[in-house]
């Protein structure tokens, strides 16, 4: 039945899960993002697709020419391009999610006051958190598909497990977007936002996209392995290179925890900001 009365719609949520903070309408936030995307944001989204492709061309084929083949733990040998491709896929899923959930969110929070506008309607903070994070997740999904369309014809993928890299990229985007939005909702100045950039670049360079962590001393390896990007790269790499063990589930669990923590923290923070 279609209810077309705002009050009746809100009343129909009585007794539902988290009725005060969740109206079951996260999808309308995605509808909004789609409209905004059509209006202008598509260029920024497109650039996120080219970034890993350019890295792949430069490092994979340029530098890879000097490096030659890479031996894997399971005894197989792969080209350098095939070795870094999963790292780049994981990184692009992360970057898309982080861009959406940090700068975009910061702008909407501080200057356009869009979340304030949403929360003065019968939408709840959980709807807003899930809807915004959901859009970042869609973006991760699109990047993963786009990147696959490049690496599969290039012959860098040789096994069927690689298809799992797509849901893995979605999970990675989900995790990063959740945490990114939670952190951004605590920030109030541009200077604080710069911390995000400061944290992202070294993580990208040193988390094992371009070479294995075994080049580092043990304690540094431990630190890097605790970071989400290493977890992401390992998960995607295991799938694209076909090294599938139960161990992958640990990476999955890592991101599931990130998502739960991030969504909860974001919803709490939005409630604190706009519905004290």
């Amino acid at each position: 039945m279609i209810l077309d009365n705002a009050v009746a719609i809100a009343q129909s949520r009585r007794g539902h899960f988290a009725e005060g903070s969740y109206a079951g309408r996260a999808h309308v936030l995605m509808e909004r993002s789609l409209m905004a995307f059509k209006n202008s944001a598509w260029l920024a989204v497109l650039s996120g697709f080219f970034e890993p492709v350019l890295y792949l061309l430069s490092f994979g084929y340029g530098l890879g020419h000097l490096i030659g083949k890479i031996p894997l733990q399971n005894g197989h040998v792969v080209t350098y391009a095939a070795y870094i491709a999963p790292g780049l896929l994981a990184t692009s899923a992360m970057n898309g999610a982080i861009y959406d959930s940090t700068w975009n969110v910061f702008w909407k929070l501080k200057f356009d006051r869009i979340y304030q506008g949403m929360l003065q309607t019968s939408l709840g903070s959980v709807d807003v958190a899930l809807g915004e994070i959901g859009w970042a997740l869609l973006r991760g999904f699109a990047y993963a598909i786009g990147f696959m369309c490049v690496v599969v014809p290039a012959g860098l993928i040789t096994n069927w497990w690689a298809i799992m890299a797509i849901p893995a990229a979605v999970l990675i985007a989900f995790g990063f977007a959740s945490i990114g939005m939670a952190i951004t909702s605590c920030f109030t100045t541009f200077q604080q936002m710069d911390f995000i950039n400061v944290a992202m670049l070294p993580m990208f360079l040193f988390s094992g996209s371009f070479y294995p962590l075994t080049v580092y001393p043990g304690y540094l390896q431990g630190i890097l392995k605790a970071l989400p990007l290493w977890q992401a790269i390992e998960m995607v790499r295991d799938f694209t290179l076909g090294i599938v063990t139960w161990g992958i589930l640990w990476h999955v669990l890592y991101f599931v925890v990130m998502v739960i923590f991030g969504v909860t923290a974001t919803a709490k923070r939005l409630t604190k900001l706009f519905l004290r």
């Binding site: 077309d4 719609i9 509808e31 209006n39 309607t121």
Partner: protein
């Protein structure tokens, strides 16, 4: 009017932020179809009260019900009853005028089929038909306000809440906005308005609550307030900034009450012209003089000893 249904009822409503008390135990009722105003200077507690009603701020004490419901228990439902026009515009700059109306309806869970014809009606009401495909950023301040009001009406709310609706607008834009609000009032929409402009309060409100420092100073119709707290007319005189204080004691003897402001003296009397005549007879010749009707500004001055806009 007095017999109609009570939509909002507050009893001893309190809001504290740490040691600071923003709303200090106020009581009021708003009835269906009424245009109710909170008049007071910045920091009087008007916006805080509005936010408590709109279920976006929790109270520290007292009771409040909106259509019989407690906003802390039925937040989403209360918000569905209300149309909110905040003090600072929070339109969606990434979207066009039309899209702003559309998506706002979607936030309430309304269907496309319901919203589409509604958009046409609201664009017409807000006089923004030609701007429908324009991005919000490109609109003037007055247009943005009209769009914000139109947006608040998309869910057909029972109560429209306007927080300082014309602050920052030029006189022409203000008059257009007042005209639109007047139409809503005629249609029977219950309006809740905060303002620190007395002309706005006089134009739009049937009943006013004068607030200062979180408390209610008085409550009545604009005309009733003026009648109770001021004389019919006011004579404004200037003797120059040095002499104002010197002549003040002499002026005090001539009328009911005077107020010495930094730049002028206000003399309260039922016949301003007659008072000016007496002044001249006494040999007190002000540099400038003006006789006007009493306004809410005078009421406020009487109640708080301060002017509305400092």
């Amino acid at each position: 009017m007095t017999n109609s249904e009570v939509l909002i009822e507050a009893k001893q409503l309190i809001k504290r932020y740490g040691d600071f008390t923003a709303v200090a135990g106020i009581d009021f009722q708003v009835r269906k179809g009424e245009s109710f105003g909170f008049l007071g200077p910045n920091g009087a507690g008007k916006s805080t009260t509005m936010r408590i009603i709109a279920a976006t701020l929790t109270r520290s004490g007292g009771e409040i019900t909106i259509l019989g419901k407690d906003p802390e228990k039925f937040g989403p439902e209360i918000k569905a009853h209300l149309g909110v026009v905040p003090q600072m515009d929070n339109l969606d700059n990434a979207l066009t005028v039309e899209e702003n109306l559309y998506i706002y309806g979607r936030y309430f869970g309304l269907s496309k089929a319901f919203i589409r014809p509604k958009i046409e009606e609201l664009l017409d009401f807000a006089q923004l038909v030609e701007k429908r495909s324009v991005k919000v950023e490109a609109l003037s301040g007055g247009m943005k306000r009209r769009l914000t009001i139109a947006r608040a009406l998309v869910s057909e709310p029972e109560i429209l809440m306007l927080d300082e609706p014309t602050t920052g607008l030029d006189p022409q834009a203000r008059h257009i906005l007042w005209d639109r609000l007047f139409r809503l009032k005629e249609q029977g929409v219950t309006l809740l308005i905060t303002t620190h402009y007395m002309d706005e309060a006089e134009q739009l409100c049937d009943r006013l609550m004068v607030m200062d420092k979180g408390s209610i100073m008085a409550e009545d119709s604009p005309a009733g307030l003026i009648k109770s707290y001021s004389t019919k007319e006011v004579l404004e005189v200037r003797f120059g900034s040095d002499r104002n204080a010197v002549v003040a004691p002499q002026l005090k003897e001539l009328c009911e009450r005077i107020e010495v402001l930094p730049d002028r003296i206000l003399m309260y009397a039922d016949d301003g012209e007659e008072l000016l005549h007496q002044l001249n007879q006494k040999g007190l010749h002000p540099l400038t003089s003006l006789v006007r009707r009493s306004s809410l500004e005078d009421v406020f001055l009487r109640l708080t000893g301060r002017t509305l806009i400092d």
